[in-house]
Symmetry: C2
Subunit: 232 residues, 2 copies
Amino acid sequence: MSHTYEYPRAAHTVDAVVFGLSDQVLKILLMRRAKLDQPYPGAWALPGGFIDLEQDLEETARQTLKKKTGVDLSWMEQLYTFGQPDRDPRGRVISTSFLGLVRPSDVRAHATEHASEVTWRPVDDLPDLAFDHTKIVGVGLHRLRTKLRWQPVGLGLLPPTFTLSDLQQLYEVIGGHPLDKRNFRRKVHSLNVLVPTGVKRRQGQHRPAELYRYDETRYQQLLEQGLDFELV
Amino acid sequence: MSHTYEYPRAAHTVDAVVFGLSDQVLKILLMRRAKLDQPYPGAWALPGGFIDLEQDLEETARQTLKKKTGVDLSWMEQLYTFGQPDRDPRGRVISTSFLGLVRPSDVRAHATEHASEVTWRPVDDLPDLAFDHTKIVGVGLHRLRTKLRWQPVGLGLLPPTFTLSDLQQLYEVIGGHPLDKRNFRRKVHSLNVLVPTGVKRRQGQHRPAELYRYDETRYQQLLEQGLDFELV
DNA sequence: TCAAAAGTGTTATGAGTACACCCATGC
DNA sequence: GCATGGGTGTACTCATAACACTTTTGA
């Protein structure tokens, strides 16, 4: 094994591009870089950290995220590996980024808990980020939008039950343009992934809306048969 | 900078999944592992190597490939980063893989040149590969097929001029199923990416076929507006 | 004149898109 | 009874898919 230690090595990090929906706005989870002896002190950055030698990258990404921000992801996939030699002032640091989604309850939950060092920021109003994280966010957003067109990934951003209007709003917010209600519903129904719960949600003085949940089996099926951006 | 050296680091490699077309068969470029003091001696593996600390991952992948096999790629993109802790018996080695395409002239060229240690093998008749390379090839093949449906990437596997039948064969070979000639041609023409050269290729005692080349500008445009699996 | 590959058009089907009104509820 | 969001159907357009014959050449 000694021969693998004969040359200098790059450091390796995982970074998470985590999306959540709140107040009808698509937001990204950011952390403040607190340590003064590290680059970009005080700046906002994607949550992440150096890898653990014994752990899978995916696992490391999930755990680091959980530990540092308290967030649980409802869905995750590998995004891209960024390895420009000058992306980190400390030297060669290669970052494998992950794309993750969070349900609204989690978005709210820890927003208060870790309030000073963690924040959710609207994707179209981001501060300057440390390192090349702005670029990483761009890639993540692009992937989320593309993916949404072919796979019902968006369900990972919703609570366990939701109305069709909720779902449509989500697609509108992420896609950045309005959708036709009737066409949207026809499309959704044709996927056979939604199951009416029989329960209605009443809210305000309007007609109550049917609550749906999604069929886990069918959902997995759609994820698999959809376009695979990542796949192992 | 010292603080980045305070913990053990993973080694990092780049590996290339390189496709080429010859004898109407889709093939993959493999190298034999010669060194006896390294894992899997004598086994076939994807061409690759440890990264250079001063170089971009993409660049390293291209250069390593060129040096070890003599192959020039007509197109390349990042595929996926494999980081299972046990994928390499030497310890933690993270591999970022790349997907690459080669034109037929290159396939033939070095097939003789580096004959003993380098080979092109049909994708549906692969030997056992070192490490997790069989899995990597699977991901690469899947990506190539998916990508082909949305972007005219296949052009990267053809010589500078080619006939429509050549192109259709390529799509049939990679897709694994026959295509309708008329529908295929209509589709291709509607993309406006092919330009007739006015020259005809005569071959055997049949009607000569028009030779086409592709419009580089339009090709780039299609790559960009197509579904992006990777994107930086 | 024949064998072999090149080339060409029409029809049917399904998906996507555009579009406007009635329904149920709480106040 | 009215304001508000929930819920529904139809017609058009366009892309895809199925399908068979004529043309050009060299031998």
